[in-house]
Amino acid sequence: MTLMSYLGAIGAAQREAMEADPRVVIIGEDVEANVYGTTGAGKSRKDKGDFLELFGANRIRNTPISEEVIVGAAAGAAMTGLRPIVDLSYSSFLYMAMDQFVNQVAKNRYMFGGQASMPVVFRSAMFYGLNTGAHHSDRPYPMFMNVPGLKIVVPSNPYDAKGLLRTAVDSDDPVLTFEACMLWGTKGEVPEEEYRIPFGQARTAREGDDVTVVAISSAVPEALAAAESLAGEGLSVEVIDPRTLVPFDAEAVIRSVQRTGRLVVADPAHRTCSAAAEISAIVAEEAFESLRAPIVRVATPDTQIPFSPALEKQLYPNRDSIAEAIRRVTGTRAGSTSEAARLASPAPHL
């Protein structure tokens, strides 16, 4: 075990994957100089461990700023023998390549009756909460959950970031990993040896009996903080991190709700058609009789992301809004609701 940052864990997974298989290549904007810190041990090219020096220019390739062809070419390469890891930097840039994601990456294997496999990983970082404004702050994973054929990964800690990325590279299906920049600096114990975390297996981040909180990405540490503070008030909160949204570990969530009888879903995506909406629907369909209170979603209100810290800070699920939702489903306190918390999780009568 070694203490590693979330970002360092991604770099470690990439390095292991590159060493293990010569078909793994990394392409993306600015990957050669390691500006984002995932293609080398340090930021300096001279540092030992620089990917360009280790693996050569054939396998570490800077691309032009051409997201459509980056994604499409990676798909074509995956269909013909490579296992590309594509660094798309910011998640908001995925829209540039929507045709390739939706019409090629997700559909080719299916349309061609299984003739093609699509072993490609697309990494992108969600820069929300960092005052980068509306063009860099998106959390678009629910849009891609709506596209059959893709696998969606949302690591919330360094251990998961490494283990899930190794599984992603092994996968013969296309995987999109959404990394939260807010978590990049988070440190955690990570094994130095190789390990993989299977897709579709949720992690119970904290056990509890009164309410189940399913939290996604940066909402996981916030949900844990909320659980911790509510423990002092005598509430026992279970926190589940699904880790992958496609495939989704519905069983783990249903089992938990069957025990606790209550569900809060904390999801940094926009509320409408969020991952939280889907998870809520699954629980309503499969475990309605276990519910002792209405499901509450804590999501980002359906507004664009403003620049000013004074405006942005309130929007995403945080320990306060999650705690507020937990109080509501457990009936422990009505509480005074902030405007953002009200928009994010309107009471049933609103």
Partner: protein, 328 residues
């Protein structure tokens, strides 16, 4: 160009396979035997076959909605293609692709695409594979003059140019995108656009001459195989049928005289005359070739008729390499 009689006859054979297959498919659409629609390459066979014959067996290609010609030109057996158009289980994609999304990996066909321009990056990526793996394969992207105005072509040419990828961008300029004349929506000359990327752009003015197309495509393929990077080849040709079979456009967007003049330049007739004139084959030999191709098409239809439809459960197969847990 010094081509063997065998190669020349193979060109004629492949053009005939496309022509007779597409004619039959067109009839089957009209009779309701093929659901949906098909886009034929009738009139454009020289352009398709000239390009495909320039490729080797291991080479890749991607294509568009005008779809059957490409895999046939590359040597696909006809039965599974026809079965796919009808939606049978024995179809080359098991009935999940249909005309717009044919693929036959056995002959390097990485897939046709219903989205105009969308398959160009796929061929570019196959070029990246070849380069990284060093396997010497070339890949060719077929697309129309309409697709030439999609931005992804320019992203792809730039990427292939800067990485010296073994890719041939082949523009099938049949002068119309559905009803829209190319010159009304295309600024400048398509082939000249390559210059902006520092790669060769060549225009084959007579796309009805299979040898002219072959020569230009072979030069581009050779260049790619030598590691010198991509080429844009624009071929001027004409489609004899409507944009798609069964489509009845109310307006006459093509000039009658223009169309008549092009119908005079049927690539299969022209090549037949040439083969006879230069003594490569006799009229009888060529008649025999035609009869053999017709039999092949008949057999493809019989194969299709004999084939079952896919089991409904197949709709849920092949999305992922292994089924992922989805609650029903």
């Amino acid at each position: 160009m010094d081509l063997s009689a065998e190669t020349l006859l193979e060109m004629q054979r492949r053009m005939l396979r496309i022509r007779r297959f597409d004619e039959r498919a067109s009839l089957m659409v009209k009779r309701g035997h093929i659901p949906g629609t098909v886009h034929t390459s009738i009139g454009q066979e020289a352009q398709v076959v000239g390009a495909c014959m320039a490729l080797g067996d291991g080479d890749y290609m991607s294509g568009n909605h005008r779809s059957h010609g490409h895999p046939i030109g590359k040597g696909s057996p006809l039965g599974p293609l026809m079965a796919e158009l009808v939606g049978k289980a024995t179809g080359v994609c098991g009935g999940k692709g249909g005309s717009l999304h044919l693929a036959d990996f056995a002959v390097g066909s990485l897939g046709e695409s219903g989205i105009v321009g969308s398959s160009i990056p796929i061929a570019t990526g196959a070029g990246l594979s070849s380069k990284v793996l060093g396997n010497g394969r070339v890949s060719l992207a077929f697309f129309g003059d309409g697709a030439a105005n999609q931005g992804c072509l320019y992203e792809a040419m730039n990427l292939a140019g800067v990485w010296d990828l073994p890719v041939v961008f082949l523009c099938e300029n049949n002068q119309y995108a559905l009803s829209t004349p190319a010159h009304t929506v295309t600024s400048g000359v398509i082939a000249e656009r390559a210059a902006g990327f520092g790669i060769p752009g060549v225009r084959v003015e007579d796309g009805q001459d299979v040898l002219a197309v072959y020569e230009a495509a072979a030069a581009a393929v050779d260049r790619a195989r030598r590691g010198e990077g991509p080429t844009l080849v624009e071929v001027i040709t004409y489609r004899f049928n409507e944009h798609s079979e069964g489509l009845r456009l109310g307006t006459d967007y093509r000039d009658k005289d223009e169309k008549a003049a092009w119908l005079e330049r049927d690539p299969i007739v022209l090549f037949r005359q040439r083969l006879i004139a230069d003594g490569t084959a006799t009229a009888e030999q060529l008649d025999e070739l035609e009869a053999a191709v017709l039999r092949e098409v008949d057999e493809a239809v019989e194969f299709t008729d004999r084939s079952p439809y896919p089991d409904p459960s197949v709709a849920f197969k092949d999305l992922y390499t292994e089924p992922i847990g989805v609650l029903s």
